[in-house]
C-alpha cells in the first residue's frame, strides 16, 4: 500500500470545525462539556476524546489583524518519537500507509509517548489508563476512502492523497501564495503537511513546534543507555567469570593452608 499525506492549507480554513465533528462521528468519540473562553477554539485543547481541534490565533493589532485557524492533529511522523518511547509492542504502530496508529488493547498507560511526542499530541485518560490520538482514519484509508476530517472539509483546506502528489501540491500552493510548507525538515518527515500563509511563521502560531525533531533525550535513552545496560551487565558478568577463572575465589587464610600445593 502506498504512503499517503494529509494536506492542510491554512489560507483556506474558515474555522467551521466540520473536521472536528466528522472526527468525533467516525471514531465514535463522545462529546465533552466545554467552556467558552472568549475564543473560537473549543474545546481548549486536544483530549482523549478529541483527536483533532481547530486552534485559533489572532495575530497583530489594530487594522493589521490576522486570524489563524489551524487544524491540529497527529502529524504521523516517519521516525516517530512516540513509537520509539513506547514499552508495549503493538500499542503504537507505524503502518505501511504512513499513519501512526494506537491500538488501545496493547496500551499500558505509561504516558511515555506523550512526553516523547514533539507535537504534544497523545492524550491520556485516567479512567481507561490508556492514551488516544488521531489515526489518520487508518480504517478508512485502507478501504479506499479519505479520512473523515478531509471528507467533511468544504473549503479545500484539507486534502488527502499519495505522498508525492501532496508534497507537490503543498509546494505549488506555497509558491503561489508566498507562504511556506511546514514542517520543512528533511530529517524529520511527517505524513501531514501544512501550507502556512505568507508572513506567518510557525513560531507565531500557538502550539506549533517551530523545529520539530526526534527529542535528543529519547535518542540518548533508547540508542545509548538502553544498549549500555546490556553491555554493562553482560560485560561485568564476563569479567567476573574471567576473574574467577584466572585468580579464583578469595579464600580465607586458614582455608588456603589446608589445601597446600597441588601435585604437578
Amino acid at each position: 500500500m502506498a504512503e499517503y499525506i494529509k494536506y492542510i492549507d491554512l489560507t483556506k480554513c474558515t474555522g467551521c470545525r466540520a473536521c472536528q465533528v466528522a472526527c468525533k462521528q467516525w471514531n465514535d468519540l463522545p462529546a465533552e462539556t466545554t467552556q467558552f473562553t472568549g475564543s473560537l477554539q473549543n474545546p481548549g485543547d486536544l483530549t482523549y476524546n478529541t483527536w483533532t481541534l481547530i486552534r485559533f490565533d489572532e495575530l497583530g493589532s489594530g487594522k493589521d489583524i490576522k486570524w489563524i485557524m489551524r487544524h491540529d492533529a497527529c502529524m504521523h511522523c516517519d521516525w516517530a518519537a512516540c513509537i520509539k518511547a513506547c514499552p508495549s509492542p503493538g500499542a503504537l504502530v507505524k503502518t505501511e500507509t504512513g499513519a501512526v496508529i494506537h491500538q488501545s488493547e496493547f496500551c499500558i498507560g505509561c504516558k511515555a509517548c506523550i512526553i516523547a511526542c514533539p507535537f504534544d499530541i497523545p492524550r491520556y485518560s485516567v479512567k481507561d489508563d490508556k492514551i488516544a490520538k488521531c489515526t489518520l482514519c487508518y480504517d478508512r484509508i485502507t478501504n479506499g476512502m479519505k479520512p473523515a476530517c478531509v471528507t467533511s472539509c468544504n473549503t479545500g483546506c484539507l486534502d488527502f492523497g499519495p505522498k508525492t502528489a501532496m508534497i507537490e501540491k503543498a509546494h505549488t500552493r506555497a509558491l503561489a501564495t508566498g507562504g511556506t510548507v511546514y514542517p520543512n525538515n528533511p530529517n524529520y518527515e511527517t505524513h501531514v503537511l501544512y501550507v502556512l500563509p505568507a508572513d506567518v511563521k510557525p513560531l507565531e502560531i500557538s502550539h506549533m513546534n517551530p523545529n520539530p525533531k526526534m527529542p535528543a533525550t529519547v535518542l540518548w535513552w533508547k540508542h545509548l543507555f538502553k544498549p549500555f545496560t546490556l553491555i554493562g551487565v553482560g560485560g561485568v558478568a564476563g569479567l567476573a567469570l574471567l576473574h574467577y577463572m584466572l585468580r579464583g575465589p578469595h579464600l580465607v587464610e586458614e582455608e588456603k593452608k589446608e589445601g597446600g600445593e597441588a601435585d604437578v
Binding site: 498507560g109 516523547a116 538502553k226 545496560t229 551487565v233 560485560g235 567476573a240 576473574h243 580465607v252 586458614e254
Partner: protein, 212 residues
C-alpha cells in the same frame, strides 16, 4: 541468636531483612524494567502476566526499593563513611586483582563496599526521583520529564553494572560471605581477614563491658 562455636555474628536480623528487600526489589525492578525496555524480551512480561501487569510490578518494586534504600542508608550510614586507610585499599584494588601484602584491616565494610553503597545511594536516588516523575509525567515541564526518562536509563546502567560486581564478590568470589546475608554468622578467620578492625573494636568493647 544462639552462640555458635568459632563463629562471629556479623549482621543483625533487621540489617539482613532490609538488605534482602533492597536487593530483591532492585533485581525485580531491573528484570521488569528490561522486559519493558527491550521488546525482544517479551518473554519477561509474558511470564509475569502481560505488559500492563509488568508496568505495575515495576512501579511497586520501585516503591519497595525506595523505602528499603531509605532504611538501608539509615542503618549503614555510620559504616560507609570513608577513612584514610580506604585510600590504601583502593590503590591495591583490595588485593583482588594482583597479590598484595600490606592491605590495611577494614572496618565493617571495605572501601569497595563503601563505594558500591555510595553509587547505589546517589544513582538510586536519581532512579527513584525520575521514576516518580515517570509514574505520572504530565504535571511536569516536558523538558524535565524527557530528561527524567534518559537519566532513569543512565542510572540503571550504572547501578546494574555495579550490582553484578557486588553479586560476584558477595557469593562465589568470596567463599564464606553470602551466609552473612542469610543467617548473619561468619567464621572468626573470615572476620579477621575481611573485617579486622571491626572485629577488634567489637571484641575490645566486649572485654570492656565484661570488665565493667
Amino acid at each position: 541468636m544462639s552462640k555458635r562455636e568459632g563463629m562471629v555474628y556479623v549482621t543483625t536480623a533487621e540489617e539482613r531483612i532490609i538488605h534482602w528487600l533492597l536487593a530483591g526489589s532492585c533485581l525485580f525492578a531491573l528484570i521488569t524494567g528490561l522486559g519493558l525496555m527491550f521488546h525482544s524480551w517479551y518473554i519477561i512480561p509474558t511470564m509475569l502476566g502481560g505488559y500492563y501487569a509488568t508496568k505495575w510490578m515495576h512501579i511497586f518494586s520501585g516503591v519497595v526499593f525506595a523505602l528499603s534504600l531509605i532504611a538501608a542508608s539509615a542503618i549503614w550510614w555510620k559504616e560507609v563513611k570513608f577513612v584514610p586507610d580506604d585510600a590504601k585499599w583502593i590503590m591495591q584494588a583490595g588485593g583482588y586483582l594482583w597479590d598484595t601484602k600490606d592491605l590495611p584491616p577494614c572496618g565493617m565494610y571495605n572501601a569497595g563496599q563503601k563505594l558500591f553503597f555510595w553509587f547505589v545511594f546517589v544513582f538510586g536516588i536519581i532512579i527513584v526521583a525520575t521514576g516518580i516523575i515517570m509514574w505520572n509525567p504530565l504535571p511536569y515541564p516536558v523538558v524535565m520529564a524527557r530528561w527524567a526518562y534518559m537519566l532513569h536509563a543512565m542510572s540503571v546502567f550504572v547501578v546494574a553494572s555495579f550490582f553484578i560486581v557486588h553479586l560476584y564478590l558477595g557469593t562465589i568470589g568470596n567463599p564464606g560471605t553470602v551466609q552473612i546475608m542469610f543467617h548473619g554468622w561468619a567464621t572468626r578467620a573470615y572476620c579477621t581477614m575481611h573485617k579486622g578492625r571491626w572485629l577488634a573494636e567489637k571484641e575490645g568493647k566486649t572485654e570492656a563491658e565484661a570488665e565493667a
